[in-house]
């Protein structure tokens, strides 16, 4: 293992408001991109450190005062890039942290997202998880702090949770590294399509649903093949400035997957 070299020059997209995956370090030197999301104090960074060891780079999100960590590891013959997103309770407010996490989940186009969940405070953590599921379906939930939950008499049933959410759930104890191997196998399975996911989506109010239904065709007309159109429509209805900007500048087209050659 060696430390990643510092980037020689600022990447081309240092000033762009959204965070596309091309902006990450060592573009082309990894096969899969994984994002780590979760509430603060759930052991997210412990998992990040356990996965990447010393292969990590710590800096700031461009133009923001929020710390950013990215790192790498190899598993099953593939090279992974991991981005540790800021710890947040939600993805809906205008705070810097939530904006970053939200934009990266969308524009960073991660191949999979690990949502680290605190088993001792499941309800609060599920709020964020459900919001991540609105954006992307390639999600694996790491049910962390299982030892602590057991000690406090809180029994969480991972299989039932997985059924409820429609994505795989892996119990972990990040402090001891327990469950991390299974976590990675599951992530690999989701990325390579061996594990199918059917994420639970929140039913919307009829008026809101109608507004979304009006907006989605317009988005698809302007950006054919656009993924996550529903979420983008919701964000536009909410007046999210960075999504508005992406529509204005046409940057939203980046989200459209390139045809497989």
């Amino acid at each position: 293992m060696k430390l990643l070299p510092r980037p020689k020059a600022a990447p081309a997209c240092e000033t762009c408001p959204l965070f596309p995956r091309e902006w990450l370090l060592e573009e082309g030197k990894w096969d899969y991109l994984v994002a780590l999301a979760g509430n603060p104090n759930t052991g997210k960074s412990t998992i990040f450190n356990a996965l990447t060891g010393l292969r990590q780079h710590v800096g700031n999100w461009p133009g923001k005062t929020v710390a950013r960590a990215e790192g790498g590891f190899s598993f099953g013959g593939k090279r992974y890039k991991v981005v540790d997103l800021p710890g947040t309770y939600s993805l809906l407010t205008m705070s810097q942290e939530e904006e970053i996490a939200r934009d990266f989940l969308l524009f960073g186009r991660p191949d999979a997202v690990i949502v680290v969940v605190d088993a001792t405070a499941l309800e609060r953590n599920l709020n964020l998880t459900l919001q991540v599921l609105e954006i992307t379906s390639r999600v694996v939930v790491a049910l962390n702090l299982m030892d602590e939950a057991r000690r406090r008499g809180i029994r969480v049933n991972p299989r039932a949770l997985s059924r409820e959410l429609g994505v795989p759930v892996v119990p972990t104890v990040a402090r001891t590294g327990k469950g991390l191997r299974r976590l990675l196998e599951t992530v690999e399975g989701v990325i390579e399509g061996r594990i199918a996911t059917h994420p639970r989506r929140i039913p919307l109010d009829p008026e809101l649903e109608k507004a979304v239904q009006t907006l989605v065709p317009l988005l698809l007309e302007a950006f054919p093949g656009l993924p996550h159109a529903r979420w983008i429509a919701l964000r536009l209805l909410d007046g999210d400035p960075s999504i508005r900007r992406a529509v204005e500048t046409g940057e939203l087209a980046r989200l459209v997957p390139e045809p497989v050659p």
Binding site: P40, T88, Y89, S90, L92, T93, M94, S95, Q96, L122, E123, R124, L126, N127, T129, L130, Q131, R152, G153, I154, R155, V156, N157, A160, L161, E164, L165, R200, I202, P203, L204, D205, E207, L208, A211, T214, L215, L218, L219, E221, A222, A233, L236, L237, D238, G239, R244, V247, E248, G250
Partner: protein
């Protein structure tokens, strides 16, 4: 911008207007309901996993009792302060005025010119003595209690309890925290608004911070509460009446915070309140040393010092104004005379307004300035106790209950001190907003006291 993009954004904006106003809340609520339902199905609890902190939080952030409990707590703090400050205040006054006596006699024995003795001992020193004896005891009781609550981690719970009120007013829930800072010092409260990310809501928090009384204004409120409201009830209810008066003044300030926030968010600063997540941090055992340091050194001593060095020159100035005669009247009488009609209109008098003008640099010096203004000429009474002060204000200057009510309202609502105004200017980078932050409260203060005084007189009060 491409025409398709323009069409998308315009459609989104048009659609947003057709949605119910609270669609964001409903979205979040259905999200929370879903999270709760899932949790109920997948989590099995053995025994009671609630920690003692969660149990306390259930009580202090209860949807119904949370807020009343908070107000009750505030009332208890005021009561302890008022009851506890009484005796040491009189003791201090007795000691300090005995020193004034000794000092002036010593000067006389040394054949110092009478005018200098008067200026130094009866002008400057008396001002200082007043500040110390009236302000020190309440501060030395109030601040440590307040600091303990801060240190325990109660303030985030306050923000939690008041969030819905701020949201109704179109403001940010974190404004409760900046308000709590304002109880200490409004300039600090204005700086603390940096925690609010939306510029619109931050401006609302800045412009309304002044409606919570800062340290410098507490002594005046407590003094008036003890002097006037305690006097109109039977002796055994005195401290309760005083507490009620101070609490009432604070609640009026809080009420105006909401009212003005609401008005601003519907006129000058239109917009939606933004959502935020607030985690209730664990309770901490208060650190005794830190509390002693913060409450005595950081708050009491510094504020007292500020009052002292601002009061000394103000005392000097007032003494000169009171002793320079133009014709048969002193300058102070002439200036106060000019302000008298305006003062009377709002239930006060010219001298009080003059004191407020002199006290623009620091609210702490309103009381000493006022007393010096009233007694500054040579025919002055010895003021060794609250009773003597009452005698001066009521019997000699004709203060009534209306004067006290108006003055308390004015003290809570009037313009911020010069430090706070400068801070608003620095934080907003705009002289215009600094002006709004100065004159808006002043206008509110004049309007409120005018209405109260007019109604009071119409209804036959004093």
């Amino acid at each position: 911008m491409k025409p398709e993009a323009k069409r998308i954004l315009e459609t989104a904006d048009a659609l947003r207007r057709t949605l119910p106003e609270d669609f964001r809340d409903r979205l979040v609520e259905s999200l929370y309901a879903e999270a709760e339902a899932i949790t109920r199905r997948v989590v099995h609890l053995e025994g009671d996993p609630l920690s003692w902190e969660e149990r306390i939080d259930r009580i202090v952030t209860h949807p119904l009792w949370g807020l009343p409990l908070m107000v009750l707590g505030l009332a208890v703090i005021f009561w302890i302060t008022i009851v506890g400050a009484n005796y040491p205040s009189e003791l201090l006054a007795a000691v300090l005025f005995a020193i004034e006596d000794l000092g002036s006699r010593a000067f006389a024995a040394l054949h110092v010119p009478a005018i200098l003795t008067d200026f130094l001992w009866h002008g400057v020193y008396r001002g200082l003595a007043w500040v110390v004896s009236v302000m020190l005891p309440p501060m030395a009781i109030f601040f440590p209690i307040f600091t303990i609550l801060e240190d325990l981690g109660y303030l985030p719970r306050v923000a939690f309890n008041m969030d819905w009120l701020f949201k109704k007013a179109g403001a940010h829930g974190k404004q409760a925290l900046t308000m709590a800072m304002g109880f200490g010092c409004n300039a600090a409260g204005v700086v603390a608004t940096r925690i609010i990310e939306s510029p619109r809501e931050r401006l609302i928090a800045i412009l309304t911070n002044n409606f919570v009384p800062c340290n410098g204004r507490w002594p005046l409120l407590i003094m008036l509460g003890s002097l006037f409201f305690a006097a109109v009830v039977p002796p055994r209810f005195r401290s309760l009446a005083a507490t009620g008066a101070v609490l009432g003044a604070v609640l009026v300030g809080v009420f105006f915070t909401f009212l003005v926030s609401w008005l601003l968010s519907r006129t000058l600063l239109r917009g939606e309140p933004s959502a935020f997540t607030l985690e209730l941090p664990p309770y901490r055992r208060p650190n005794v040393l830190r509390i002693l340091y913060t409450s005595f050194i950081d708050r009491t001593v510094k504020i007292l010092w500020r009052a002292v060095y601002m009061a000394a020159p103000a005392g000097g100035l007032i003494w000169i104004l009171a002793n320079v005669q133009v014709g048969s009247r002193s300058l102070v009488q002439i200036l106060a005379g000019w302000l008298q009609p305006l003062g009377h209109l709002i239930g006060l008098d010219g001298m009080i307004l003059l004191a407020y003008i002199v006290a623009i640099p620091a609210n702490e010096i309103v009381i000493p300035t006022l007393i010096m203004g009233y007694t500054g000429a040579r025919t002055m009474v010895e003021l060794e106790s609250l009773e003597a002060l009452r005698h001066l204000l009521v019997d000699q200057q004709g203060w009534t209950l209306l004067t006290a009510v108006s003055l308390m309202l004015f003290a809570v609502l009037h313009n911020p001190c010069s430090t706070t105004i400068l801070t608003i200017w620095k934080e907003t980078g705009s002289k215009r907003w600094a002006a709004v932050g100065t004159f808006l409260p002043l206008a509110v203060a004049f309007a409120t006291t005018f209405v109260v005084a007019t109604l009071w007189r119409l209804l036959g009060g004093g």
